[in-house]
Amino acid sequence: MSTLTEAPPPLSPTAPEKKPPRKRGRFVPYWLLLPGILWLLVFFALPMIYQASTSVQTGSLEEGYKVTWHFATYWDALSEYWPQFLRSVAYAASATLLCLLLGYPLAYLIAFRAGRWRNLIMILVIAPFFTSFLIRTLAWKTILADGGPVVGALNTLHVLDVTSWLGWTSGDRVLATPLAVVCGLTYNFLPFMVLPLYSSLERIDGRLHEAAGDLYAKPSTVFRKVTFPLSMPGVVSGTLLTFIPAAGDYVNADLLGSTDTRMVGNVIQSQFLRILDYPTAAALSFILMAAILVMVTVYIRKSGTEDLV
C-alpha cells in the first residue's frame, strides 16, 4: 500500500527537466528539410523565375532581350501553335489509355497471380530502363520500318486499311504517322503506369476478394466493385505519371513522326534550340504547364481519390 502512495511524486520533478531538449528538437525537421529546400530553390524555383521573365521579354538575339512585360507573346504562341497543343493532349491521352489497358492486366497478374515469378516479371518491366531512351525509340523506328515484318503483317491482316481510314496511318506506312508516335509514347511510359498500379493492387487485402465472393459477388463483380475501386489511387497516379511527361515529350514525335505529327514539345525544342526565339519557347512552356495543371486538378477532383485511404 505504501508503495502506491509514494510512487507518483518522483515523476513530477523529472518532467520539467525533460522539457527543454524537446523544445530544441522542434526545429530538427526543418533542419533536415533544408538541403531539399535549397536544391529546389536553385534548380527549380530560380529557373522557373528566369523562364517566366524570359517569356515577357522582347528584343532580338543581336540586340539582347529586355523585360518589357510583353504578355502578347502568350497569345501569339497560343494562336499559332494551338494545333500542336491539341495534338499533344490527344496523343498523350491515347498513349495513357493504351498504357492503362496494357498495364492493368499486367499489374494485376504480377500482384495476384505471379507467385514466385513476381520478382522476375518486375525486373522485366523495369529492364528497358537499362538502355537509353533514345536507343529504345530508335529501335521502334526499325520495328515499324516500311516494308518490315510488322508493317507487312499488319498489311496482310488489313489492319492498316482500317487505321488509314481512321487517319492514324497513311497508306502502307506506319512510321511517320500518329500511330507510330502513340506506340512510341505508350512503350516508353508503360513502366510508369505499371509500377504505381502494381503497388496499389498489391496492397489490397486478399481477404476482401474472399469476403466479396462470400457475399454473392461473382468474380467479374468482385473486380468491378472491390478490386478496381480500391486500385483507384494506382490508376490515378499511373495515368498522371504517364500523361504529364507524354504531353511534353518531343523525342517520340521527332524520331517516329513527321511534320504532321509535331507535338508542342517539338515546337518548344525548335524555338529554343533552332529558331532561338526564347520568349515564345518560354511562353509555350508556361502554357503547357498551366494546361496540364488545370487538367490534372479537374481529373483528381473527378476521380475522387482524396476519399481513398
Binding site: 476482401l208 465472393g213 462470400d214 457475399l215 454473392y216 463483380t221 472491390v226 480500391l230
Partner: protein, 393 residues
C-alpha cells in the same frame, strides 16, 4: 454426446460434412471428417492454431476445395459450388470490411449483389440490431474494433444465410470487449435462429457461447459434445487439458466392485465410477485418473480424521498458493502427481494452509474420470505441440 441431436427437429437446414479432408502436398490439414451441425444450433470448432479448424470452416464456405468428401447444406450438395453461389456467409477474422464503402454500403453489399433494389429498410433494421444505426455513413476505419466486428456480423447476417460461419471473429478484441461481444453474438443467434459455426482457440469462448463444441487436434475431431459434457467427461488427455485444467494420476486397476473400479496409485486407493472411464479396464492394467481442480477439497493433515469416509484421498505438501480473489489456487506436491492443482473457494480461509504445510486432498469418487493411459499426459497443455504457438501469438 447426446445433446447433439436434441436441437430443433427441422433437419432441412443441417450442415453435413461427409468424409471431407484437406491435404497440402504431404501435409494433411484435415483428416477425413464426418460432422453434422444441427439446424439452428450454435456450434464451435475449438482447437489450437494449425489444428485444421479454420480449414474446415473455409471448406464449408467454399473458399477452400476439399481434397475428398462432400459438403451438404440440408439436402443440397454444395461441394463444387463457388462461394458466391452458396447460401452461407462468413465473418472473417480480420473482418475484411470494404474500406472504400461506408458502413451502410458494406452491409448492403450482399443484398445488392443478389439484385435487391430497396435495401434501405433492411439495412437500417440490421444496423439497429447490432446497435450501429448512427454510424451508417462512416467509413470502416472510423470505427473501433468492436464496432467493425459488429458491422462484419451485420454484413453477413443481413443475407439470412442458412449458416453463418465465424472465423475467430473476436480474436482482435481486448478481453473485456470480447466478453461483451460473446454475449452479444449469443443474443443475436438466439434472436435470428440461424445456425452459427464458430471457430476459436479460446476454450472459454467456445464453452460460453456454443451449444455443441467439437474439439479439434491435429486435423481430427477429438471429442464432440455439449460444453458441460466435454468438461466433465473428457475422453482424451488433450480434451482434459485443453478445456480447463485437469490433474491426471497414473493408476493401476485393482478390483471392480459393482459400478466402481478400485485403483492403486502410490500406495493409496482411488475409486472411479466405471461409467466415467473411457478406457478399457482389465485388472492390473493402467488407467489415467483425472479430477478437476475445483472438485477437490483441501484439509490440513492435522484434521485428516474429520474427512468423511468413501472419498478419494491423496496426501501432499503445499508447494505454492496464489490468491485470486474468489479463490486461492494451490499447487500441491504429492507422490502420485508432482504438480497437483487445487482451487479452493475463499469462504473460510484456513490460515494453516501455507506453502510447506502437509495436507490431505480429497474428493468425491463421482467427480473422478478415467482415461486411456497410452496417451501423453501433457497433450493439450500449454507448451505441448500446437499449443505453444498460440501462447506466443
Amino acid at each position: 454426446m447426446t445433446t447433439v441431436t436434441t436441437n430443433k427437429t427441422d433437419h432441412g437446414g443441417d450442415v453435413r460434412l461427409s468424409g471431407i479432408s484437406k491435404t497440402y502436398g504431404s501435409f494433411t490439414a484435415v483428416h477425413p471428417l464426418d460432422l453434422t451441425v444441427p439446424h439452428g444450433s450454435f456450434f464451435a470448432l475449438l482447437g489450437a492454431s494449425g489444428c485444421g479448424k479454420t480449414t474446415t470452416l473455409r471448406m464449408i464456405a467454399g473458399l477452400e476445395e476439399p481434397s475428398s468428401g462432400s459438403v451438404f447444406l440440408g439436402d443440397q450438395e454444395v461441394t463444387s459450388l463457388p462461394p458466391y453461389k452458396r447460401p452461407v456467409n462468413t465473418v472473417f477474422q480480420s473482418y475484411a470490411l470494404f474500406p472504400h464503402l461506408d458502413i451502410f454500403e458494406n452491409v448492403a453489399f450482399g443484398l445488392r449483389r443478389r439484385g435487391i433494389k430497396s435495401v434501405k429498410k433492411q439495412v437500417e433494421e440490421m444496423l439497429d440490431l447490432v446497435q450501429l444505426g448512427e454510424q451508417s455513413r462512416k467509413k470502416p476505419h472510423q470505427l473501433s474494433g468492436g464496432q467493425q466486428q459488429r458491422v462484419a456480423v451485420a454484413r453477413a447476417l443481413i443475407n439470412t444465410p442458412r449458416v453463418l460461419l465465424l472465423d475467430e471473429p473476436l480474436g482482435a478484441l481486448d478481453l473485456k470487449l470480447r466478453r461483451q461481444m460473446q454475449l452479444e453474438l449469443k443474443r443475436i443467434q438466439t434472436e435470428v435462429g440461424i445456425t452459427f459455426i464458430h471457430v476459436t482457440h479460446d476454450q472459454e469462448e467456445a464453452m460460453t457461447m456454443a451449444d455443441t463444441v467439437a474439439v479439434m487436434n491435429a486435423g481430427r475431431v477429438e471429442q464432440l459434445g455439449s460444453p458441460t459434457d466435454l468438461y466433465e467427461n473428457p475422453h482424451t488427455t488433450f480434451v482434459a487439458n485443453f478445456l480447463g485444467t485437469s490433474n491426471l494420476i497414473e493408476a493401476e486397476v485393482d478390483t471392480k466392485t459393482g459400478d466402481d473400479i478400485v485403483l492403486k496409485a502410490g500406495g493409496g486407493k482411488l475409486v472411479l465410477p466405471e461409467a466415467r472411464c473411457s478406457a478399457p479396464t482389465t485388472t492390473g492394467g493402467k488407467v489415467l485418473v483425472g479430477v478437476r481442480p475445483e472438485k477437490i477439497s483441501l484439509t490440513h493433515a492435522d484434521d485428516a480424521g474429520e474427512i468423511p469416509e468413501g472419498r478419494n484421498r491423496i496426501t501432499g505438501k503445499i508447494a505454492s498458493g496464489s490468491f485470486i480473489g474468489v479463490s486461492t489456487q494451490y499447487v500441491i506436491d504429492s507422490a502420485v502427481c508432482p504438480e497437483f492443482e487445487v482451487y479452493v473457494q475463499n469462504v473460510d480461509r484456513d490460515t494453516r494452509l501455507v506453502p510447506g504445510a502437509d495436507v490431505v486432498l480429497h474428493w468425491s469418487p463421482a467427480h473422478t474420470f478415467g482415461l486411456d493411459a497410452a496417451q501423453s499426459l501433457l497433450a493439450g497443455t500449454p507448451g505441448s505441440a500446437g499449443i505453444q504457438e498460440e501462447a506466443a501469438a
